[in-house]
């Protein structure tokens, strides 16, 4: 799907064994995911039902939407830790608007707030060159506080259209899943078909060289932060629509960690410049089935943490193996 880096194997036919090994390793993560699915399927009869798989897709939808934005940002070498709070602020703002000005207005306001926070991040980081981690950590704290100031009381019971939207299905598939698919497709489109996709990667690999060759680096960074802000807001709205409630204290709390994990699981290194969007999709899906499987199998909460940790370390190990094989092919 979304090849960000043309691999050697593609342009010059390598000896079949090694190229076979390489593609093999590249697909270890998907294979591991399938393996995990088989494990759960064997251990719980209802895992591999259409309903359950659709459910995983539905539950992963907000994560997927935000992860696409975060992946693009990370490919360009930047990071956004404010995601969870952006979801809360925009969810709360939308919630406040739903009841007074209607659903469409609420959605607009929610997305607008996300865009605004994204622009703020982008200006501070892209134009004023402030540290991405500190700035977005700051916005994370401030945003959560702001959300609670805006809505000290619980915010719930929106117009029925909200909940209906959260539960709606098209062709048997939940609308929210369609939205996620749409966003992934959009991301893939940008990365493969649009010039901007190359620019994102260039900035991630060598931002000075990108700047010197005339790519508007600051504007690109600004746009990416704006994108992540907007997608976070969208993710927040998706959660709100499903809950029919916008709990300012907990909405999206810790979401940035899940996003980061999914994106890193997807093999995008922190230093940027690499990665395939479809592997991020696998990363999100892996996290989704893990939570689902653990819930179904009623694993105790301690053990489920050990399990999650083990999966992460394993993912890192696979990543490592891939790295070694690629390297020795140098």
């Amino acid at each position: 799907m979304t090849e960000v880096i043309a691999t050697d194997a593609k342009s010059e036919p390598a000896p079949s064994l090694k190229s076979g090994l390489l593609t093999g390793i590249d697909s270890i993560m998907p294979v591991a995911t399938v393996g995990l699915m088989i494990f759960f399927a064997v251990n719980h009869s209802s895992f591999l039902t259409k309903d359950n798989l659709l459910l995983i897709a539905l539950q992963s939808a907000p994560l997927m939407v935000v992860a696409v934005g975060a992946a693009l940002l990370l490919m360009s070498g930047y990071i956004d830790l404010s995601i969870g709070s952006v979801m809360a602020v925009s969810g709360v703002c939308a919630g406040l608007t739903f009841n007074s000005a209607g659903v469409t207005a609420g959605v607009m306001v929610g997305l607008g707030v996300g865009l605004a926070v994204g622009l703020l991040n982008g200006v501070l980081i892209g134009y004023f060159k402030l540290s991405p981690i500190i700035v977005t950590l700051g916005i994370l704290a401030a945003g959560r506080g702001l959300a609670q100031v805006l809505s000290p009381d619980a915010l719930y019971g929106f117009p029925s259209a909200v909940l209906e939207f959260g539960n709606a299905r098209v062709l048997g598939v939940p609308t929210l899943v369609w939205i996620a698919v749409f966003v992934v497709a959009l991301g893939a489109l940008v990365m493969t078909l649009l010039p901007a996709g190359r620019h994102v990667v260039a900035v991630g690999v060598n931002s000075r060289a990108a700047y010197l060759s005339g790519i508007p680096v600051r504007r690109l960074v600004l746009s990416l932060y704006a994108l992540v802000g907007t997608l976070s807001a969208l993710g927040g709205l998706m959660v709100v629509a499903r809950l029919d409630s916008a709990p300012s204290g907990t909405l999206g709390a810790g979401f940035e960690i899940s996003v980061l994990t999914a994106v890193l699981l997807g093999g995008i290194p922190y230093s940027g410049g690499k990665g395939h969007l479809w592997r991020v999709v696998v990363g999100v899906w892996l996290m989704g089935i893990l939570t689902n499987g653990i819930t179904l199998m009623n694993v105790s909460s301690q053990l489920s943490q050990v399990l999650t940790g083990a999966v992460l370390v394993l993912a890192a190990a696979l990543e490592g193996v891939r790295f070694w094989i690629h390297r020795s092919s140098r």
């Binding site: 010059e12 010039p195 060598n206 010197l212 060759s213 005339g214 790519i215 508007p216 410049g273």
Partner: protein, 511 residues
């Protein structure tokens, strides 16, 4: 040092096929070969940066099958890499002693002693800057000197230099050549010297080996060799005229309106520069190390803040970023390839096309068109290996330089003013002639001009219509392109501090 049967391949790309070589103490052994022949790879095997697949290296009677950087140093080999491998945020002293610090009995660093020794080493290689300055404040050339001092500090028996003069001006080159001659003939070091500048070979080398396609073609004493034999050995073909072409039938464009006019153009705090450059002109910039050449071309490309008059093709411009400069048709190939222009992990095709994706697209990208454009540039530059998908950092130095040059020399790049900082560093003789030809062709197209910085007088003579000489960031002379080296050097000497600046500015506006 004896090398026997050394082999190395990357994937299915066989780089070294059983290299045999003998290097004797007290001799300077030049290693020549076209770009991508495997010279750097061979040297990497000797320094521990690359692990050979097969073969042995014998130093002082001890036979090794491979080195780590540490064991190579212990065995008595020290290297100066083609791409400088220094730590930019540390000072020169700290870099020189990195990994082999002088310690007190308590294990702490003896800073004063280190500083003293570093100063001595730098003196020895003819440098006079403060060794406690952080590396970021040094120019390319000064960094090169630090790298040499670092290698010498290990008191090696075999000193390996991979194109050490590619980024040096002729004065530093002379100092360096003098230095290695002394090291070889007086201190008895064995020296392996890789270069693409053939007059250096005839000047200092005792023996020459030519490496082609991963194996040694021949090894001969320098005394029997002429330049032609060397070129033939490297290119594998009889000397072509183009390789030695100089500035004949060069039209000087007095009649045409100037394409570029600089009026008191000041590059980030430097004194003002005024000059006019006509369409079709190729202007060389000459100066000593640190004379402000890089500063000037970077400012012209919008990469550094600047003030003053800048008029291109009749319109006044304010260059606030490379992006804006680019849209006005100005492009730069910086001299520091690794950190300023190459996208190391991106493919060759992406490296060449990066600034052009938008232009080549119709909203969405057109892979076939992209492929076609790349193939035609790569073909014209005879890129080796001719592989669109290979990552930028897997190309040899000269071929990587072709990638970043090809970025702007391609057809329809939309560039009218091309700025080149050391455009052919690390490019072999054959390919250099080819690049020169392409630069000339580029400039001949309507309404274009090229400004290039070069430390290599031969190159200036071969390419430039006129040469602007800089000293302390001021224009101290504008001379014809075929001016002899001696004359250029005299001009480029920094003036005594009381020098009358009016005299210089007179020459500045000559066009």
């Amino acid at each position: 040092m004896t090398i026997h049967g050394l082999s190395k391949s990357y994937g299915n790309n066989v780089v070294l096929r059983g290299v045999d070589l003998q290097i004797r103490a007290g001799r300077i052994h030049a290693l020549l070969g076209p770009n991508g022949a495997g010279k750097s790879t061979l040297l990497g095997c000797l320094s521990g940066a690359v692990r050979p697949d097969a073969g042995t290296i014998t130093v002082n009677g001890l036979t090794h099958t491979g080195f780590t950087p540490q064991s190579a140093l212990k065995a008595g080999t020290a290297i100066i890499y083609q791409h400088l491998e220094l730590v930019s945020d540390l000072s020169a002293v700290e870099n020189i002693f990195l990994g082999s610090e002088q310690r007190t009995p308590f294990g702490t660093v003896r800073k004063a002693a280190q500083r003293r020794i570093a100063s001595e080493l730098l003196d020895r290689v003819g440098a006079d800057f403060d060794p406690s300055r952080p590396l970021t404040s040094l120019t390319m050339g000064q960094k090169q000197v630090v790298e040499i001092a670092k290698a010498l500090h290990h008191r090696p028996e075999v000193l390996i230099l991979d194109e050490p003069t590619a980024a040096l001006s002729s004065r530093e080159t002379d100092i360096l050549l003098g230095l290695i001659t002394r090291l070889a003939h007086e201190s008895g070091l064995a020296i392996v010297y890789v270069t693409h500048l053939l007059r250096e070979v005839t000047a200092v080398a005792d023996e020459v080996s030519v490496l082609r396609d991963g194996s040694v073609e021949w090894t001969r004493p320098t005394a029997d060799l002429g330049i032609e034999t060397l070129i033939e050995g490297i290119t594998g073909a009889p000397v072509a005229r183009a390789a030695t072409a100089t500035s004949e039938n060069r039209p000087v464009q007095h009649d045409r309106p100037p394409l570029l006019e600089l009026a008191d153009f000041r590059a980030s705090g430097a004194p003002g520069v005024s000059v006019r450059i006509g369409a079709g002109e190729i202007v060389g910039v000459f100066g000593l190390l640190g004379s402000g050449r890089t500063n000037l071309v970077e400012a012209l490309a919008g990469a550094r803040p600047s003030e003053g008059g800048f008029r291109l093709a009749g319109s006044d411009l304010r260059l606030s970023s490379p992006g804006i400069a680019r849209r006005s048709g100005i492009a730069l190939v910086p001299s520091d390839r690794k950190s300023q222009s190459l996208f190391s992990s991106l493919s060759a095709q992406e490296n060449v096309l990066m600034p052009h994706y938008r232009r080549l697209s119709r909203g969405w990208r057109r892979p076939r068109v992209e492929q076609h454009v790349f193939d035609s540039v790569a073909g014209r530059m005879s890129l080796h290996p001719m592989s669109a998908g290979l990552a930028g950092d897997r190309f040899s130095g000269g071929n990587a330089q072709k990638l970043v040059m090809g970025r702007w020399l391609m057809d329809g790049s939309g560039v009218t003013l091309l700025l080149l900082d050391e455009p052919t560093q690390g490019v072999d003789v054959g390919a250099r002639a080819e690049l020169h030809r392409m630069i000339r062709e580029f400039a001949r197209e309507s309404e274009r001009a090229v400004i290039f910085v070069s430390s290599d007088v031969e190159e200036l003579n071969a390419l430039a219509d006129r040469v602007v000489v800089l000293a302390e960031s001021r224009i101290v002379g504008i001379v014809p392109g075929d001016t002899a080296e001696r004359e250029l050097m005299v001009l480029a000497q920094p003036a005594p501090s009381s020098g009358p600046s009016e005299v210089r500015s007179e020459g500045n506006t000559a066009a």
